[in-house]
């Protein structure tokens, strides 16, 4: 069982896809935030987060998602979150971030 967090950026025909794996917790947050900043502020490309292999998230990670949402919203840039595992979806529903996330294309 791998806990270490990784984020892999894929340049695809229809935009940038970032695939998250492992546990997005306080220890992983700083690096992930730094990695996402330049991607989030670029309105020219569509940005998708694939959460299919995200095994854990807490308020730290959800806080980063809300920052990305705010930036993308301000830039009127497309942002999608895909393949949300059930236990992550539950936290999205409990916090209320769900209503800001566009689930699938």
């Amino acid at each position: 069982m791998s806990h270490k967090f990784t984020a892999v950026t894929l340049n695809e025909a229809d935009g940038i896809r970032v695939k998250l794996q492992g546990e997005l917790d306080l220890a992983a947050a700083g690096e992930f935030r730094t990695m996402m900043e330049p991607l989030a502020v670029d309105p020219s490309t569509r940005l998708t987060l694939d959460l299919s292999e995200l095994s854990y998230i807490d308020s730290t990670g959800i806080g980063i998602l809300i920052s990305i949402l705010k930036v993308r919203h301000a830039e009127q840039a497309p942002f999608y979150v895909e393949n949300v595992p059930p236990h992550v979806q539950k936290l999205f529903d409990v916090t209320g971030i769900s209503k800001f996330l566009i689930p699938q294309r």
Partner: protein, 152 residues
């Protein structure tokens, strides 16, 4: 807080560093599955205990060397967790009272602060916090095994 009949106790004493919070989750997983909690309940508790540890890591100590104690009080069908630091208080009581979710808010109004406390309260059956100036913060949280605690 409801009285919990304590059978056994496990104590962890960890450096107040982000890298150690997953040790708490691993320990929690081992203890909670032994008590008989469901996968979903364990996932809930993992987040709740991590939120309390995150607060200690982020706010309790102004310099390195701080410690977070996590105490697992293991009941027959419930688990009580105590997360304690000896740092300077960060006004936890104040934040605790005002923790809300984002359901009724617009994106512009959403603030990430306080979300950890909100999650603790939403995911556990009981949460209490005491914070004394200069003497640290103690968070206590409890969860019962749903399959036993409530008739369906």
């Amino acid at each position: 807080m409801a009285e919990v009949k304590t059978k056994q106790q496990v104590k962890l004493s960890l450096p107040a560093q982000a890298d150690y919070v997953d040790v708490v989750r691993l320990t929690l997983y081992g203890i909670a599955s032994r008590i008989g909690f469901s996968y979903e309940e364990i996932e809930d508790m993992k987040v709740a205990v991590s939120e309390a540890c995150n607060n200690a890591v982020l706010y309790a100590y102004s310099q390195e060397g701080g410690v977070v104690d996590v105490i697992f009080d293991i009941g027959d069908h419930e688990l009580e967790l105590t997360i304690r630091d000896q740092g300077s208080s960060f006004m936890a009581n104040d934040k605790f009272g005002h923790a809300t979710g984002w359901h009724d808010k617009s994106l512009d109004d959403v603030q990430a602060g306080g979300l950890g406390f909100y999650l603790m309260q939403a995911l556990m059956d009981d949460v209490s916090i005491s914070s004394q100036d200069g003497r640290g913060t103690e968070v206590k949280m409890m969860k019962r095994v749903l399959a036993i605690g409530e008739a369906k």
